[in-house]
Each structure stands twice: as C-alpha cells, then as structure tokens.
Symmetry: C2
Subunit: 474 residues, 2 copies
C-alpha cells in the first residue's frame, strides 16, 4: 500500500494531508499510472481513521483529474503525461460559463482528441512568466492590499484603458465613464438597473445566448431581430418596439458578418430618434485578419447613445474574469447617484493588468496573438478547403477565433456532431444561440474554433472530420 | 527640469513613458518631495510633444497619490515616506464600495491621522509573501489558465470550503451547494433571481445598507424589522408579511447583539411554517472574543430554509473580492436548471485560495488575526474607559472588528464627527444603515473600527477624540 504519513499535530486537516500526499506521489511517479487506488475501507483499516477524510481526499483527486473512476471497479491513477491530469476534460460537475458549452445538451465524446472550442484561446502563448511578475509587482508596490478598492474599478486602470480604447478601437471616453467588471454578465446586471424603465430590447437572432437569457431573467422583454449579411436587420429593428438593442457590429456573434458603415449610421440615427441605447459588444475587436480594422460604433456616436463593452477573455484569458464597459456620460452620471450598485473585481488583478499595459506587455501580447491566430486561421481554411473542397462553405472568417462552416449534406447537425464525436473531434452547432426555432438553412451549419487548437491539431482535426463525414457529404 | 527620455520606437505610449519615468524618479528620490512639477506648457515646449500625454501622465500621478494639487498653484511631489504615496486617502474619484464609506455624504477631514474605519483589516499582518507564493503555484501547477472555469466556482475550492465551513462554523453542505462569488453583492443578485416570486423580505433595522438597497433595486419590497438586544425582533417578523428575511445572527450589523439559541429556533420555526428563506450573513463569524463560538444558523436548520453567506473580506482581505454562499439543496437544484445564471471570479485567485487552505496557511492566518484583533480590541476598550470613563458606553463588542460607542452629550452625531475630524480622526455614524428615520436614542452613537488601526494609533486616536469631545460631554 502507499506511504502516507498522517500527523494529528499538523495544521492541515486529515483529508488534506491525505489528498496532498497522494497527489504528490501521483505527480512524481511514486504511485504509477494505471494503479488502482485501495478501497476506502482498506485505507481506513490501515490508517485507523474514519471514512470521511479518505472519501473527501478521493473525491478531490477525482475532481482534479488525478484519478478516473471505472464503474463497479474503483479509482485508477491517470497517466499524468498523456491524460492531462489537472484539467479533466469535462467532468460532470464542471459547468463552464462559456457560451459555447451549455454542456448537458450536447453529446460529450468519450475521448476528445481535438476540441474546436470557439471559446478557447491559445494557452501555449499565455505570458505566464510576465503575468506572474505583474502580480508580484502589484502586491509589492501598492498600498491598499487590505482595503476595498473603487467599486467602479481602480482609477489608474481606467485611465490606461481609456487611452488604449481610444488608440485601438476609436472609443472616446474618460475614465469616469468606464466600469471595470468580472465579465459581461456583471455588466449586464449593472446595465439592467441603469436602464430600468426601458423594458424592451432588440436582440440579434441568432445571438449570444448568455446575454439574452440574462436580460430575460432581469425582467426585460427580448425581441429577436434577424441577422442579415450586414449584421442586425435595421428594417426589422425599425419596425419593432425596442427601446434598446444589443449588437456585435465588429463581428456578429455567431454568424460573423461585419456591420457596414452605412448601417452603423442608420443604427445610430434610430437610437437618436428613439432616445434608445445601443449595447455594442466588442468581444473580439482585437482580432481582424482582412480589410482595415473597423473602429467601434461608440467612436462615431455623437449623441451618447452607445454603451460599449469589451473583455479580456479573448485577447488575454477568460480565466481571469476581467472586462470593462464604457457608459455614455448621461448613464455614468445616473450611476453616480445609485449607491451600492457596483462591485469591482480583485484590486490585485486590476493593478497587475495596469502594469501589464504600462510596461508595454499588452501591445506586444496582442501583436503576438494576432500573428499566431492569423496563421492558424489561414492553415484552418486551407486544410478545410483541401479536404472538403466544394462540399463545405466557410463564412464569418474575417475576424475572431472561430469559423462558421456550412456542410453540404442531407443529414442534420446533430448527426454531424455525433459522427465527429466518434472520431474524437468536438465541433459545435450553437443551436442554443437561437431564441426562436431557427429558420432551417438548406444545409447544417457548425462552428469551429481555432484559438485553443495548435496548427498540428488543426490538421489532425480536419483529417478526422473528413473521415467522420465523407460518406454523408453530397 | 527633469531627465525624461521619450522614445517613439518604444512599445509604450508616450503618456506611459512619461508617467513611469516621473513616478520612478519620485520613488527613488530623483525628484525630491515638495518639488513643484513643471507646467504642462513648459514640458510641452521642452519635449516638443502634444499636451495630451503630459496631462494624462500628470493625472495618473495625481490619481495614484504621487503628487498633490494646490489650487491655483500646481502639482507638488508628495513625500513618499510620510504621506503614503500610492494610496491617496480619499481622492474625489475614489468611491469605495465599502458599506462604511458612502463617502460623499460624510465630511472628509483634510488630513486623517487616525481612521477608525470599520471595514478595514490589518494590512501589516497580511501574508504577502505566502500569498505571492500561492498565486505563483496556482499559475504554475494548473492547466486551464486560458479556459473558463466552472461558473459556480472551482470544484476543488468548493470541496475545501465545505470541509472548512463544517469544522469552523458547523455548516452542513456538499460542494454542490456552494457558489463562489466576488462579494455579497454578487450573491444577492444570484439569489434575487433564484427567489423570484417571493417579493417581500424582512430586513434588520438598522442593517447592512448595501444589501438592503440591492434587494430594492432588484424589485423586492423590503420590510424593516427592528433589532433588539437579541437581534432581529421575532415578534415583529411574525407580524409582518415577509416571506424571506436577512439576518446577521452571529454579530448583528451594525448594532452588535448575538441572536440567542432560543430565538434561532424560533426563527427557523417561522421559516418552516411559512416556507420562507432565511439569509444568514456570517460576515465576521471568525472573530469572537468572549464566550464560546456560536455555530451558524445553517448548522441547526433541518429543513433547508437557510442560505448561508460568508466572505474573505474580514478574515483575509476585501481587496480580493472573494466570497461564498451555501444554498439549500432545493435552491441548488433550481440553480442547475437556470443556465447562464452564474459568473465566477478569477480561477487563478480561486486556485491560490485552495492552496492557501490545503497547505495549512488559512488556519495559521486566522489564529494569528484572532490574537491580534483580540489584543487591539482589549487595548481599545481599555483606552476608551481610561479617557472617557462613565461618559461613554461601549456595546456590541464581543466579536468583529468594530465597537459601538454611545456618547453622553446633548450634541448630535454630526457634530461629534466634525469635532473629531478637526483633530484628524475619522469615526462613523452609520446613519445610512437605517431605512426609516432612526428612533433617536437618548445619546448619539458612533462606530469605531479597529481592524486596520495599530495599537499605537488606537491610543493616539482615543487621546485625540478626548481632546475633540471633552468640552461637550455631560
Ligand atoms: C459574443 C460574446 N460577448 C462577450 C463575451 C465575453 O464574455 P466575458 O467577458 O464575460 O468572458 C464572449 C465570450 O465568449 C462572447 O462570445
Ligand atoms: C454586514 C456585512 N456583510 C457582508 C460584508 C462583506 O461584503 P463582501 O464580501 O462583499 O466584501 C460586510 C463587509 O463589510 C458586512 O459588513
């Protein structure tokens, strides 16, 4: 059996001592891959302790993916090198917020070789060492590590962001208009309170379901407005009763079109005439591969009708939960009169991000990511064309981290997902992004993300997809 | 003038180069304390650049407290050693979320020598080095630094918390019932959606205003229920129409009483009979100085009526914005059926906290803080008795990080605040914690926090208060 030393003198509770020692032995090979863990009962006898700490320790090892469970057999140690221990692919209890993973509805493949997850970003290029340094500096050089910060976000970070948004996205604002938050869900909650009274919101159809559902939770009536190849349909918006609207003009989510300049002016004119607010979700504005960068709607708004929302989830990492919103002056003033409305994320993270900008790392990082994603994107399109030729059509691919692919087959998207899954490939149909039953297009459409996939895996994945689907293509 | 080198080749925008170079020179003494910064115009001429980057850099230095502004004169460098540069006491634009700081309403003293801020914790004992190490390990040892985490909170952290809450607060729960969040304001937003349908909530009067206001924002009807020396009045609650109630039974905020066992059972019986929910806010349950520790309401609830909320803001630091909520099984199940409801804080911070527990640091930290606060608390009470004797009465002091002091004077609390302020001492009247006009007690009551104040400053502060008030005491 294992070498476990438990101490009753220790600061650490029993279950943690057990868990850590077993984990460390798994990590360093002391317990070899494939080993079956002894039963709770036998450890109990060996150690002469109660069952609870052993069960808890086992549960923790399972939750973190150090062991996996075989039904009616027990727990087995995973191979830390091939099985990616610390990040269990999709254990039952992990429910990702990610828009892309309303998990339970989708078939989860047994073993995922390639996951074209549209919410993933490239982990291999994450500036781990530098971020560590930034956190380090943040802790060392700031007084106030034990005080509440400004609930609107650290002023010094808002200053840096105002400057950045102006330079890179043409956004005009002062730090007083910026609200730092922990994700778009926070921004929507704050906005829902600021906009109370306006209870109808036009929403892209299909569109980003998490935001749509949240508006509903918050008591708004959501009006689906179809998306055309020029983004949200202005004809339909104008016909509707909406007095606010949510759009992703830089790269419509999920279909991909960019809203052209003329439509942007028309949208702003609509907002001006109705005194409506336009929510501009610029989630991946940093990544654009063709044509010149399109500046934000906010930047051409002269009437204070646009609320701009940006995020660090695409350009940096979604694990940090950091985003920002730019309010029109009128709403920023209203916000000042609503006490206790706001709740900022960790000051330490905010200071680290400020330093990341100040020391020039942000600009370097973005350039690096843009180049990497451009290459992956090119490779992806090229591989798809190579293996599928005319039998698929790729759209929505001038920007961002995913492609929309239309597949010429008489099967439905569900079947395509299942066939792919049997080959170990995960693709997404985004059916939950539709509010009403989608008008069925002639052929099924799927979403393939490439942000978190290496070029090698892109090649492999496309080959496997070809294998999965070749018999059903027309 | 200063030695500033600007490079147009640099990755860094001009204003950041300027800001950082000036900041560093202020830090290392290259620009000495008291120096007046050259005017924007003169820097512009010297450097031959536009005004905007200079103004931005100056604004940043001002925002971070490296310089202060004298009206009609300009910006002056602060003395980094005596003036606490990086943490400007209360610049206009810093609006603390802290319940205790609804700033604008209160008179802000020119120069605060001692701040008895009830929301402050002891910065000198913050385990900076260890926390840095935890962050470091979190970044190094976890895969998934570029992925969304579980929106309910990392499962492994929830496991550790379930065990901790059981041991230290008698809370019975599984990790599935825990929701990790970024502060009580997040928890209340989630709850408001889970409880939709129950629209009346009984609320301690006086009580924690941020939560009360948030329930109002969220469409609840809030019914004030008076607080007696046994906590929330059950007679009044039973008479009311409330079908939910918010309480702080371990240490009523702000008055201080502990709800006795008999009242707890009566409260639970009320909840059972009405199928009402009880929100237990256990914000400072870790700190209790007299009597035996009181376990949570949740721990004696047999009917799944209690929602338990805890925080890291008192026991660790409010800057981190990390808290947790324990839902009854019924609500946890309802939550599972509401997609996109949740949004967790940074995974990296959660991993760090998990390691902080696992390695035994948490238990050591709490013990250390409890001892330190017990000493400060004793010293504070002793000093107040020494300087004020019978002319004040101290209550609500068996737990937590603040005292409630009743002052025998015929002046109002506003006058006391102003007199204290003239001596450079900040104290708090918490008038905003009342929903309705407070029944005026015979004498004014003030709140004095000691968490963030050193023993030396406690002595100094009490002396200054004596000086401020001695002429008006009766
Ligand atoms: C359309 C859209 N908006 C916003 C976001 C960003 O959300 P958050 O900042 O909460 O991570 C995403 C991320 O996937 C998205 O796809
Ligand atoms: C009564 C009460 N509840 C809760 C909190 C904790 O709030 P949070 O966890 O959002 O920092 C505090 C902090 O001051 C408090 O006084």
């Amino acid at each position: 059996m294992f070498d476990i030393l438990l101490s009753t003198q220790s600061e650490q509770p029993m279950y943690i001592q057990l868990y850590r020692q077993m984990r460390d032995q798994i990590r360093n090979g002391g317990i070899s891959p494939g080993t079956r863990l002894p039963s709770v009962r036998s450890v109990q006898l060996q150690m002469n302790i109660s069952k609870t700490p052993i069960e808890t320790a086992y549960q923790m090892l399972l939750a973190e993916g150090y062991v996996h469970s075989k039904p009616r057999s027990g727990l087995y140690v995973i191979d830390p090198h091939t099985d990616k221990p610390a990040s269990p692919a999709h254990p039952d209890h992990v429910r990702a917020f990610s828009a892309m993973h309303p998990t339970r509805a989708e078939p989860v493949p047994q073993k995922v070789a390639v996951d074209f997850d549209p919410s993933a970003v490239d982990e291999s290029l994450f500036p781990l060492r530098i971020w560590r340094k930034m956190l380090h500096e943040a802790l060392d050089s700031h007084a106030g590590v034990c005080r509440y910060g400004d609930a609107q976000g650290e002023y010094s970070l808002r200053l840096v962001l105002a400057e950045y948004l102006k330079n890179s996205r043409g956004v005009n604002c002062s730090p007083e208009q910026i609200v730092v938050g922990s994700g778009i869900s926070y921004s929507i909650d704050v906005l829902s309170k600021l906009l109370s009274g306006r209870q109808t919101i036009g929403f892209e159809e299909p569109g980003f379901a998490p935001v749509r559902e949240q508006f509903k939770h918050n008591g708004f009536q959501v009006i689906p407005i179809p998306v055309t190849d020029k983004g949200l349909s202005l004809d339909e918006l104008e016909k509707s009763d909406a007095n606010a609207v949510y759009v992703t003009p830089s790269h419509q989510f999920p279909l991909g079109p960019v809203m052209p300049y003329a439509e942007r002016e028309r949208l702003l004119a609509w907002a001006r005439a109705r005194r409506a607010y336009v929510l501009e979700d610029d989630y991946d504005g940093e990544f654009r591969y063709f044509g010149k960068p399109i500046s934000s709607l906010q930047g051409i708004d002269r009437d204070g009708r646009v609320i701009y929302i940006g995020t660090f989830s695409k350009a940096f990492t979604p694990a940090l939960r950091l985003n920002y919103m730019v309010l029109p002056v009128e709403l920023a003033e209203k916000m000042q009169r609503m006490p206790y409305l706001l709740n900022s994320p960790s000051r330490i993270d905010q200071w680290a991000m400020q330093a990341f900008f100040e020391q020039g790392h942000w600009y370097r990082h973005i350039r690096r990511m843009r180049n990497a994603y451009r290459k992956k994107h090119q490779r992806f399109v090229e591989q798809l064309q190579l293996h599928f030729g005319e039998r698929i059509e790729i759209t929505g691919h001038s920007a961002g981290l995913h492609l929309l692919v239309t597949i010429r087959t008489d099967r439905c998207s569900r079947t395509l997902l299942e066939l792919a899954s049997q080959q170990g490939v995960r693709v997404y149909d985004f059916s939950q992004m539709w509010m009403e039953t989608p008008r069925t297009p002639r052929y099924p459409q799927l979403y393939l993300g490439f942000g978190g996939t290496s070029e090698r895996d892109i090649e492999l994945g496309v080959k496997l997809l070809q294998k999965a689907w070749h018999e059903i293509l027309v």
